[in-house]
Symmetry: C2
Subunit: 256 residues, 2 copies
């Protein structure tokens, strides 16, 4: 009788806190526990799951580190369900970079790819609704240029514009990942952003860029829309990346 080659997969023991975390995660991902809803208190969960409080707490810790819930001492309503977000992605990307498993240049290059693709698809698939929404966001950005302290709100509107483009591209994942990479980047070089001296100039250039992108998307010029994203990111970040990886960044500029 012949023996099988690899018929059995190794079985690893499942910890109690894992089963608890899985059950809760399942209900969150399935939508049964929508964002904003509350989990029972820890002592309630203890009796519901039939495990000790430390087990429940370790499960909640896992869920919290995954960004699915948030708990606050003294809250009689219990932990709050946050739902799935891109936070976890950007956290993972930040770890990759901080551990030197990938460089800042690779992060920028990656963002070039994502935003270019987002723009390209948006140029092809955008509806009139998408266009008016984007135009409105640019208008709002312009109105925020005058106020001195509106830089935070400006960046927020900027992010909304990118999200609108992502929606127009009909691929939310591209937008989510681009956002995650963006967050990871600013986490790394945030000190450079705080330079308020040329903030007005930066905002003006940013608005100009967004208008070009919108024009290309409106015209349905996919290659140009993609190229705009690449060029803008390269121009903005090329000086910040390590000199060694600068040529690689430039290599990702042209597409054909």
């Amino acid at each position: 009788m012949a023996t099988f080659d690899a018929p059995f997969t190794p079985v690893e023991p499942v910890r109690a806190y894992q089963r608890v975390a899985e059950q809760i995660e399942e209900r969150i991902l399935s939508g049964e526990l929508p964002p904003g809803s509350r989990l029972p208190g820890e002592r309630d969960l203890v009796s519901q799951f039939g495990v000790g409080r430390s087990t429940v707490r370790e499960a909640l810790r896992v869920l919290q580190s995954a960004g699915l819930i948030r708990s606050r001492p003294g809250d009689p309503l219990g932990a709050e369900v946050l739902g799935v977000s891109a936070d976890n992605l950007s956290q993972a990307l930040g770890r990759l970079t901080r551990s030197h498993l990938c460089s800042l240049g690779e992060l920028i290059q990656f963002r070039m790819v994502l935003e270019a693709e987002s723009n390209r698809l948006a140029a092809r698939l955008r509806t009139e609704d998408d266009l008016t929404r984007m135009a409105g966001l640019i208008e709002r950005m312009r109105s925020l240029t005058g106020a001195g302290a509106g830089l935070r709100e400006f960046s927020e509107t900027d992010a909304l514009f990118h999200q609108a483009v992502a929606e127009a591209s009909r691929n939310a994942l591209l937008g989510l990942c681009a956002r995650a990479v963006h967050d990871a980047v600013v986490e790394i070089i945030e000190h450079k952003i705080a330079n308020v001296a040329d903030a007005t100039a930066w905002m003006a250039r940013s608005i100009d860029h967004h208008e070009q992108v919108l024009a290309a998307i409106r015209a349905g010029d996919a290659p140009h829309a993609a190229q705009l994203a690449r060029r803008a990111l390269h121009a903005y970040y090329a000086d910040h990346v390590e000199p060694a990886s600068r040529p690689l960044l430039t290599a990702a500029l042209e597409e054909e």
Copy 2:
């Protein structure tokens, strides 16, 4: 005296387990605790950090759910440091999909973008070393075609080929993310993979595809290399995605 606009950022309390986790994570990311090294036992950490064991355990739980460490009961050496990997990324991507925040179609489309870009860059930047390594991996895949039970090893070699392409593209991040998306995809539709009936045919087609990719990369034909990745993924997965998002997938096929 004027009041500031938003001079203060809200301060959230830092839990003890967070500080513990941060300290350990810092040492792992900085390379001070390389993969394969061991953490002290929990009771040692208790005395080193001056906190209770539950606090230490919650910190370890966070690190473990981030894929940075792995612990095993009864191990006298303590928890093992795993280092940063793409596991966390694929886990996050899988959550996004399972929560219907993005569809399987978007995942496939995303993978098309990543692998296409990987191939494109590899076609431009590959060295002779890269080419011989890839050729060797294809040869190994061909040698695994005969053996009946080598499907697992075949997939492994497949992954190694993609990793070699990613290395040739000089952007590890692209490869890591492509791998993460790949894992997320197989996690979702793994039941389709187990069909061993046409495994040989599938392997033959796979080898054929990889040879075409290698040829394009060798020739430095970046657009063709990119197009090959797009077409192959579309051909392989188009039937598996929801019919509604099939046209979107097709829209991502052509590039210009």
